[in-house]
Point group: C2
Chain length 214, copies 2
Amino acid sequence: MRTVFHRQLDDLNARMAELCDRTGEAMARATDALLAPDLQIAEAVIADYSDITCECTRLETDAFTILARQAPVAGDLRAVVSSLNDVADIARMGALATHVARISRRRHPEVAAPSEVAGYFTEMGRLAVRISQDTKTVVLSRDPDRAAQLATDDEAMDDLHRHLFTKVLDHRWTHGTTAAVDVTLLSRYYERFADHAVDVANRVIYQTTGTRQP
Amino acid sequence: MRTVFHRQLDDLNARMAELCDRTGEAMARATDALLAPDLQIAEAVIADYSDITCECTRLETDAFTILARQAPVAGDLRAVVSSLNDVADIARMGALATHVARISRRRHPEVAAPSEVAGYFTEMGRLAVRISQDTKTVVLSRDPDRAAQLATDDEAMDDLHRHLFTKVLDHRWTHGTTAAVDVTLLSRYYERFADHAVDVANRVIYQTTGTRQP
Protein backbone atom coordinates (compact mmCIF):
# COMPACT_ATOMS: atom_id res chain seq x y z
CA MET A 1 0.00 0.00 0.00
CA ARG A 2 1.29 3.45 -0.91
CA THR A 3 1.41 5.92 1.95
CA VAL A 4 0.28 9.53 1.58
CA PHE A 5 3.95 10.46 1.50
CA HIS A 6 4.77 8.13 -1.37
CA ARG A 7 1.79 9.33 -3.39
CA GLN A 8 2.99 12.90 -2.90
CA LEU A 9 6.53 11.96 -3.90
CA ASP A 10 5.21 10.18 -7.01
CA ASP A 11 3.23 13.30 -7.88
CA LEU A 12 6.34 15.45 -7.44
CA ASN A 13 8.36 13.15 -9.71
CA ALA A 14 5.58 13.05 -12.31
CA ARG A 15 5.53 16.85 -12.44
CA MET A 16 9.34 16.99 -12.70
CA ALA A 17 9.15 14.49 -15.58
CA GLU A 18 6.59 16.76 -17.26
CA LEU A 19 9.01 19.68 -16.79
CA CYS A 20 11.77 17.66 -18.49
CA ASP A 21 9.44 17.26 -21.47
CA ARG A 22 8.79 20.98 -21.55
CA THR A 23 12.45 21.97 -21.42
CA GLY A 24 13.23 19.42 -24.15
CA GLU A 25 10.42 20.85 -26.27
CA ALA A 26 11.68 24.39 -25.58
CA MET A 27 15.17 23.44 -26.79
CA ALA A 28 13.71 21.67 -29.86
CA ARG A 29 11.75 24.80 -30.79
CA ALA A 30 14.70 27.10 -30.00
CA THR A 31 16.78 24.98 -32.39
CA ASP A 32 14.08 25.25 -35.09
CA ALA A 33 13.94 29.02 -34.55
CA LEU A 34 17.73 29.20 -34.85
CA LEU A 35 18.02 27.22 -38.05
CA ALA A 36 14.96 28.46 -39.97
CA PRO A 37 15.36 31.30 -38.76
CA ASP A 38 11.91 31.91 -37.31
CA LEU A 39 11.30 34.97 -35.14
CA GLN A 40 7.81 33.89 -34.04
CA ILE A 41 9.01 30.57 -32.66
CA ALA A 42 11.93 32.31 -30.91
CA GLU A 43 9.51 34.79 -29.29
CA ALA A 44 7.21 31.92 -28.22
CA VAL A 45 10.08 30.03 -26.55
CA ILE A 46 11.02 33.17 -24.62
CA ALA A 47 7.39 33.91 -23.62
CA ASP A 48 6.67 30.32 -22.55
CA TYR A 49 9.64 30.27 -20.18
CA SER A 50 7.61 32.08 -17.52
CA ASP A 51 5.31 29.02 -17.34
CA ILE A 52 8.36 26.86 -16.67
CA THR A 53 9.65 29.14 -13.88
CA CYS A 54 6.16 29.31 -12.29
CA GLU A 55 5.90 25.53 -12.25
CA CYS A 56 9.42 25.31 -10.78
CA THR A 57 8.42 27.67 -7.97
CA ARG A 58 5.28 25.59 -7.29
CA LEU A 59 7.33 22.39 -7.28
CA GLU A 60 9.82 23.85 -4.79
CA THR A 61 7.02 25.02 -2.53
CA ASP A 62 5.30 21.64 -2.69
CA ALA A 63 8.51 19.71 -2.04
CA PHE A 64 9.12 21.90 0.96
CA THR A 65 5.55 21.37 2.23
CA ILE A 66 6.05 17.60 1.96
CA LEU A 67 9.26 17.89 4.01
CA ALA A 68 7.54 20.02 6.64
CA ARG A 69 4.31 18.00 6.93
CA GLN A 70 5.45 14.42 6.35
CA ALA A 71 8.90 14.69 7.99
CA PRO A 72 10.30 11.81 5.89
CA VAL A 73 13.45 10.01 7.05
CA ALA A 74 16.46 8.26 5.49
CA GLY A 75 16.03 7.53 1.76
CA ASP A 76 12.65 9.29 1.63
CA LEU A 77 14.15 12.45 3.11
CA ARG A 78 17.03 12.28 0.61
CA ALA A 79 14.57 11.84 -2.28
CA VAL A 80 12.61 15.00 -1.44
CA VAL A 81 15.71 17.10 -0.71
CA SER A 82 17.29 15.96 -3.99
CA SER A 83 14.16 16.94 -5.88
CA LEU A 84 14.78 20.55 -4.82
CA ASN A 85 18.19 20.46 -6.49
CA ASP A 86 16.71 18.66 -9.51
CA VAL A 87 14.10 21.37 -10.00
CA ALA A 88 16.86 24.01 -10.02
CA ASP A 89 18.73 22.06 -12.72
CA ILE A 90 15.64 21.53 -14.88
CA ALA A 91 14.70 25.23 -14.55
CA ARG A 92 18.19 26.12 -15.75
CA MET A 93 17.77 23.83 -18.79
CA GLY A 94 14.67 25.87 -19.67
CA ALA A 95 16.62 29.12 -19.23
CA LEU A 96 19.32 27.86 -21.62
CA ALA A 97 16.67 27.15 -24.30
CA THR A 98 15.57 30.80 -24.01
CA HIS A 99 19.21 31.92 -24.36
CA VAL A 100 19.35 30.10 -27.72
CA ALA A 101 16.07 31.76 -28.74
CA ARG A 102 17.38 35.20 -27.70
CA ILE A 103 20.40 34.90 -29.98
CA SER A 104 18.11 33.94 -32.91
CA ARG A 105 15.93 36.95 -32.15
CA ARG A 106 18.92 39.29 -31.90
CA ARG A 107 20.17 38.31 -35.38
CA HIS A 108 16.80 38.10 -37.13
CA PRO A 109 16.27 38.23 -40.14
CA GLU A 110 19.87 37.00 -40.45
CA VAL A 111 20.70 33.44 -39.33
CA ALA A 112 22.92 33.37 -36.23
CA ALA A 113 24.47 30.00 -37.17
CA PRO A 114 26.13 30.04 -40.63
CA SER A 115 25.01 27.15 -42.88
CA GLU A 116 28.52 25.64 -42.58
CA VAL A 117 27.81 24.79 -38.91
CA ALA A 118 24.00 24.32 -39.09
CA GLY A 119 24.45 20.55 -39.05
CA TYR A 120 26.17 20.77 -35.66
CA PHE A 121 23.22 22.60 -34.15
CA THR A 122 20.71 20.19 -35.74
CA GLU A 123 22.59 17.39 -34.00
CA MET A 124 22.95 19.31 -30.71
CA GLY A 125 19.20 20.05 -30.73
CA ARG A 126 18.44 16.38 -31.41
CA LEU A 127 20.76 15.30 -28.58
CA ALA A 128 19.23 17.87 -26.21
CA VAL A 129 15.76 16.44 -26.84
CA ARG A 130 16.99 12.89 -26.28
CA ILE A 131 18.78 13.97 -23.10
CA SER A 132 15.56 15.58 -21.79
CA GLN A 133 13.62 12.40 -22.55
CA ASP A 134 16.24 10.27 -20.81
CA THR A 135 16.21 12.62 -17.83
CA LYS A 136 12.43 12.20 -17.68
CA THR A 137 12.82 8.40 -17.70
CA VAL A 138 15.44 8.59 -14.94
CA VAL A 139 13.30 10.93 -12.82
CA LEU A 140 10.37 8.48 -13.06
CA SER A 141 12.26 5.18 -12.81
CA ARG A 142 15.08 6.23 -10.39
CA ASP A 143 17.09 3.61 -12.30
CA PRO A 144 20.85 4.17 -11.74
CA ASP A 145 21.81 2.23 -14.89
CA ARG A 146 19.61 4.43 -17.07
CA ALA A 147 21.04 7.44 -15.23
CA ALA A 148 24.61 6.30 -16.00
CA GLN A 149 23.75 6.05 -19.71
CA LEU A 150 23.04 9.78 -19.80
CA ALA A 151 26.80 10.33 -19.60
CA THR A 152 27.17 8.89 -23.14
CA ASP A 153 24.92 11.54 -24.69
CA ASP A 154 26.66 14.18 -22.60
CA GLU A 155 30.01 13.05 -24.05
CA ALA A 156 28.56 13.27 -27.56
CA MET A 157 27.41 16.82 -26.77
CA ASP A 158 30.87 17.72 -25.41
CA ASP A 159 32.45 16.35 -28.61
CA LEU A 160 30.21 18.52 -30.78
CA HIS A 161 31.00 21.51 -28.55
CA ARG A 162 34.76 20.93 -28.93
CA HIS A 163 34.51 20.43 -32.70
CA LEU A 164 32.52 23.62 -33.13
CA PHE A 165 35.08 25.49 -31.06
CA THR A 166 37.88 24.22 -33.32
CA LYS A 167 35.88 25.22 -36.40
CA VAL A 168 35.28 28.75 -35.16
CA LEU A 169 38.95 29.23 -34.25
CA ASP A 170 40.23 27.76 -37.55
CA HIS A 171 41.94 30.30 -39.82
CA ARG A 172 39.58 29.15 -42.59
CA TRP A 173 36.55 30.54 -40.66
CA THR A 174 35.12 33.09 -43.10
CA HIS A 175 31.94 34.17 -41.31
CA GLY A 176 33.43 36.96 -39.23
CA THR A 177 33.52 37.77 -35.54
CA THR A 178 29.79 38.17 -34.84
CA ALA A 179 29.00 34.68 -36.14
CA ALA A 180 32.01 33.29 -34.21
CA VAL A 181 30.78 34.85 -30.97
CA ASP A 182 27.19 33.67 -31.55
CA VAL A 183 28.26 30.13 -32.39
CA THR A 184 30.53 30.00 -29.31
CA LEU A 185 27.73 31.05 -26.97
CA LEU A 186 25.11 28.85 -28.64
CA SER A 187 27.38 25.84 -28.41
CA ARG A 188 28.03 26.56 -24.74
CA TYR A 189 24.26 26.74 -24.03
CA TYR A 190 23.68 23.27 -25.50
CA GLU A 191 26.68 21.88 -23.63
CA ARG A 192 25.43 23.32 -20.31
CA PHE A 193 21.93 21.97 -21.02
CA ALA A 194 23.40 18.47 -21.11
CA ASP A 195 25.51 19.12 -17.98
CA HIS A 196 22.43 19.97 -15.92
CA ALA A 197 20.73 16.76 -17.06
CA VAL A 198 23.82 14.83 -15.95
CA ASP A 199 23.63 16.55 -12.55
CA VAL A 200 20.06 15.24 -12.14
CA ALA A 201 21.17 11.76 -13.26
CA ASN A 202 24.16 11.75 -10.88
CA ARG A 203 21.88 12.65 -7.98
CA VAL A 204 19.72 9.59 -8.77
CA ILE A 205 22.85 7.42 -8.88
CA TYR A 206 23.98 8.78 -5.51
CA GLN A 207 20.54 8.30 -3.95
CA THR A 208 20.17 4.73 -5.12
CA THR A 209 23.74 3.41 -4.89
CA GLY A 210 25.49 5.79 -2.47
CA THR A 211 28.20 6.34 -5.11
CA ARG A 212 29.17 9.85 -6.15
CA GLN A 213 30.07 10.38 -9.80
CA PRO A 214 33.41 12.17 -10.40
CA MET B 1 21.00 29.07 24.94
CA ARG B 2 21.99 27.61 21.59
CA THR B 3 20.72 24.13 20.90
CA VAL B 4 22.90 21.43 19.34
CA PHE B 5 21.01 22.03 16.11
CA HIS B 6 21.75 25.75 16.04
CA ARG B 7 25.42 25.17 16.77
CA GLN B 8 25.53 22.74 13.85
CA LEU B 9 23.74 25.22 11.59
CA ASP B 10 26.17 27.97 12.63
CA ASP B 11 29.06 25.66 11.83
CA LEU B 12 27.54 24.89 8.40
CA ASN B 13 27.15 28.61 7.66
CA ALA B 14 30.68 29.38 8.87
CA ARG B 15 32.06 26.75 6.49
CA MET B 16 29.96 28.09 3.61
CA ALA B 17 31.28 31.58 4.37
CA GLU B 18 34.82 30.19 4.25
CA LEU B 19 33.99 28.63 0.84
CA CYS B 20 32.81 32.05 -0.41
CA ASP B 21 36.24 33.40 0.54
CA ARG B 22 37.95 30.60 -1.34
CA THR B 23 35.92 31.05 -4.53
CA GLY B 24 36.52 34.82 -4.37
CA GLU B 25 40.24 34.19 -3.93
CA ALA B 26 40.17 31.69 -6.82
CA MET B 27 38.56 34.29 -9.10
CA ALA B 28 41.06 36.97 -7.95
CA ARG B 29 43.96 34.66 -8.81
CA ALA B 30 42.37 33.56 -12.09
CA THR B 31 42.06 37.24 -13.03
CA ASP B 32 45.74 37.83 -12.14
CA ALA B 33 46.71 34.79 -14.22
CA LEU B 34 44.64 36.11 -17.13
CA LEU B 35 46.07 39.61 -17.14
CA ALA B 36 49.74 38.91 -16.37
CA PRO B 37 49.58 36.28 -18.03
CA ASP B 38 50.90 33.78 -15.48
CA LEU B 39 50.76 30.08 -16.26
CA GLN B 40 51.76 28.97 -12.75
CA ILE B 41 48.92 30.87 -11.08
CA ALA B 42 46.46 29.51 -13.67
CA GLU B 43 47.64 25.95 -12.96
CA ALA B 44 47.34 26.53 -9.21
CA VAL B 45 43.74 27.78 -9.52
CA ILE B 46 42.84 24.68 -11.53
CA ALA B 47 44.63 22.33 -9.09
CA ASP B 48 43.10 23.94 -5.98
CA TYR B 49 39.57 23.49 -7.29
CA SER B 50 39.53 19.86 -6.13
CA ASP B 51 39.80 21.14 -2.51
CA ILE B 52 36.71 23.28 -3.12
CA THR B 53 34.69 20.36 -4.55
CA CYS B 54 35.78 18.07 -1.68
CA GLU B 55 34.64 20.63 0.88
CA CYS B 56 31.33 21.03 -1.01
CA THR B 57 30.75 17.28 -0.87
CA ARG B 58 31.52 17.28 2.87
CA LEU B 59 29.17 20.22 3.44
CA GLU B 60 26.35 18.48 1.55
CA THR B 61 26.87 15.28 3.54
CA ASP B 62 26.91 17.21 6.83
CA ALA B 63 23.80 19.24 5.95
CA PHE B 64 22.03 16.02 5.13
CA THR B 65 23.16 14.41 8.41
CA ILE B 66 21.78 17.41 10.32
CA LEU B 67 18.44 17.00 8.53
CA ALA B 68 18.34 13.28 9.26
CA ARG B 69 19.45 13.42 12.91
CA GLN B 70 17.95 16.71 14.16
CA ALA B 71 14.76 16.65 12.05
CA PRO B 72 14.40 20.46 12.16
CA VAL B 73 11.04 22.07 11.41
CA ALA B 74 9.70 25.29 9.86
CA GLY B 75 12.38 27.98 9.42
CA ASP B 76 15.14 25.70 10.69
CA LEU B 77 14.23 23.05 8.12
CA ARG B 78 14.17 25.68 5.38
CA ALA B 79 17.60 26.97 6.47
CA VAL B 80 19.28 23.56 6.16
CA VAL B 81 17.55 22.66 2.89
CA SER B 82 18.52 26.04 1.42
CA SER B 83 22.12 25.49 2.42
CA LEU B 84 22.19 22.48 0.07
CA ASN B 85 21.26 24.74 -2.85
CA ASP B 86 23.71 27.40 -1.63
CA VAL B 87 26.58 24.91 -1.63
CA ALA B 88 25.78 23.99 -5.25
CA ASP B 89 25.90 27.68 -6.24
CA ILE B 90 29.16 28.36 -4.39
CA ALA B 91 30.74 25.24 -5.94
CA ARG B 92 29.75 26.53 -9.37
CA MET B 93 31.40 29.89 -8.61
CA GLY B 94 34.62 27.97 -7.96
CA ALA B 95 34.19 26.07 -11.24
CA LEU B 96 33.80 29.34 -13.15
CA ALA B 97 37.10 30.62 -11.69
CA THR B 98 38.81 27.50 -13.08
CA HIS B 99 37.19 28.14 -16.49
CA VAL B 100 38.87 31.57 -16.54
CA ALA B 101 42.17 29.94 -15.58
CA ARG B 102 41.79 27.30 -18.30
CA ILE B 103 41.43 29.94 -21.01
CA SER B 104 44.62 31.68 -19.73
CA ARG B 105 46.43 28.35 -19.80
CA ARG B 106 45.21 27.55 -23.33
CA ARG B 107 46.57 30.82 -24.73
CA HIS B 108 49.82 30.94 -22.78
CA PRO B 109 52.32 32.56 -23.46
CA GLU B 110 49.91 34.82 -25.34
CA VAL B 111 47.42 36.92 -23.35
CA ALA B 112 43.81 35.77 -23.88
CA ALA B 113 42.40 39.25 -23.19
CA PRO B 114 43.85 41.95 -25.51
CA SER B 115 45.17 45.01 -23.65
CA GLU B 116 42.28 47.06 -25.10
CA VAL B 117 39.82 45.13 -22.87
CA ALA B 118 42.15 44.30 -19.94
CA GLY B 119 40.56 47.10 -17.88
CA TYR B 120 37.17 45.39 -18.14
CA PHE B 121 38.53 42.17 -16.69
CA THR B 122 40.41 44.02 -13.93
CA GLU B 123 37.07 45.54 -12.95
CA MET B 124 35.15 42.26 -13.34
CA GLY B 125 37.72 40.50 -11.14
CA ARG B 126 37.45 43.26 -8.52
CA LEU B 127 33.64 43.02 -8.59
CA ALA B 128 33.77 39.22 -8.33
CA VAL B 129 35.88 39.45 -5.18
CA ARG B 130 33.52 42.02 -3.64
CA ILE B 131 30.53 39.87 -4.57
CA SER B 132 32.13 36.85 -2.86
CA GLN B 133 32.80 38.91 0.26
CA ASP B 134 29.21 40.20 0.28
CA THR B 135 27.91 36.67 -0.20
CA LYS B 136 29.99 35.62 2.79
CA THR B 137 28.49 38.44 4.88
CA VAL B 138 24.97 37.46 3.79
CA VAL B 139 25.56 33.77 4.55
CA LEU B 140 26.73 34.66 8.07
CA SER B 141 24.27 37.47 8.86
CA ARG B 142 21.15 36.16 6.98
CA ASP B 143 20.40 39.89 6.57
CA PRO B 144 17.87 40.39 3.73
CA ASP B 145 18.88 44.05 3.25
CA ARG B 146 22.51 43.12 2.74
CA ALA B 147 21.34 40.33 0.43
CA ALA B 148 19.30 42.80 -1.64
CA GLN B 149 22.39 45.00 -2.06
CA LEU B 150 24.14 42.20 -3.93
CA ALA B 151 21.86 42.94 -6.88
CA THR B 152 23.66 46.29 -7.38
CA ASP B 153 27.04 44.64 -7.94
CA ASP B 154 25.37 42.06 -10.16
CA GLU B 155 23.95 44.87 -12.32
CA ALA B 156 27.42 46.44 -12.54
CA MET B 157 28.76 43.05 -13.68
CA ASP B 158 25.96 42.72 -16.26
CA ASP B 159 26.80 46.21 -17.57
CA LEU B 160 30.45 45.29 -18.03
CA HIS B 161 29.39 42.06 -19.75
CA ARG B 162 27.15 43.96 -22.17
CA HIS B 163 29.81 46.60 -22.90
CA LEU B 164 32.40 43.94 -23.62
CA PHE B 165 29.97 42.18 -25.93
CA THR B 166 29.43 45.42 -27.87
CA LYS B 167 33.18 45.97 -28.07
CA VAL B 168 33.87 42.50 -29.43
CA LEU B 169 31.12 42.83 -32.06
CA ASP B 170 32.18 46.33 -33.11
CA HIS B 171 33.59 46.50 -36.64
CA ARG B 172 36.63 48.26 -35.16
CA TRP B 173 37.59 45.09 -33.24
CA THR B 174 41.05 44.32 -34.62
CA HIS B 175 42.12 41.39 -32.45
CA GLY B 176 40.67 38.61 -34.55
CA THR B 177 38.25 35.78 -33.94
CA THR B 178 40.19 33.82 -31.32
CA ALA B 179 40.42 36.83 -29.00
CA ALA B 180 36.74 37.60 -29.64
CA VAL B 181 35.71 34.07 -28.69
CA ASP B 182 37.96 34.06 -25.59
CA VAL B 183 36.70 37.45 -24.42
CA THR B 184 33.07 36.38 -24.94
CA LEU B 185 33.48 33.24 -22.86
CA LEU B 186 35.55 34.96 -20.16
CA SER B 187 32.98 37.71 -19.81
CA ARG B 188 30.21 35.13 -19.55
CA TYR B 189 32.08 33.29 -16.75
CA TYR B 190 32.33 36.46 -14.63
CA GLU B 191 28.68 37.27 -15.29
CA ARG B 192 27.56 33.77 -14.23
CA PHE B 193 29.80 33.98 -11.13
CA ALA B 194 27.76 37.02 -10.02
CA ASP B 195 24.46 35.30 -10.92
CA HIS B 196 25.18 32.39 -8.60
CA ALA B 197 25.97 34.79 -5.74
CA VAL B 198 22.61 36.50 -6.38
CA ASP B 199 20.89 33.09 -6.23
CA VAL B 200 22.37 32.56 -2.74
CA ALA B 201 21.31 36.09 -1.72
CA ASN B 202 17.76 35.61 -3.06
CA ARG B 203 17.42 32.41 -1.06
CA VAL B 204 18.28 34.34 2.12
CA ILE B 205 15.69 36.99 1.21
CA TYR B 206 13.07 34.31 0.65
CA GLN B 207 13.91 32.51 3.89
CA THR B 208 13.78 35.65 6.01
CA THR B 209 10.95 37.61 4.36
CA GLY B 210 8.96 35.01 2.40
CA THR B 211 9.34 37.19 -0.71
CA ARG B 212 10.68 35.69 -3.92
CA GLN B 213 12.91 37.87 -6.08
CA PRO B 214 11.86 38.11 -9.76
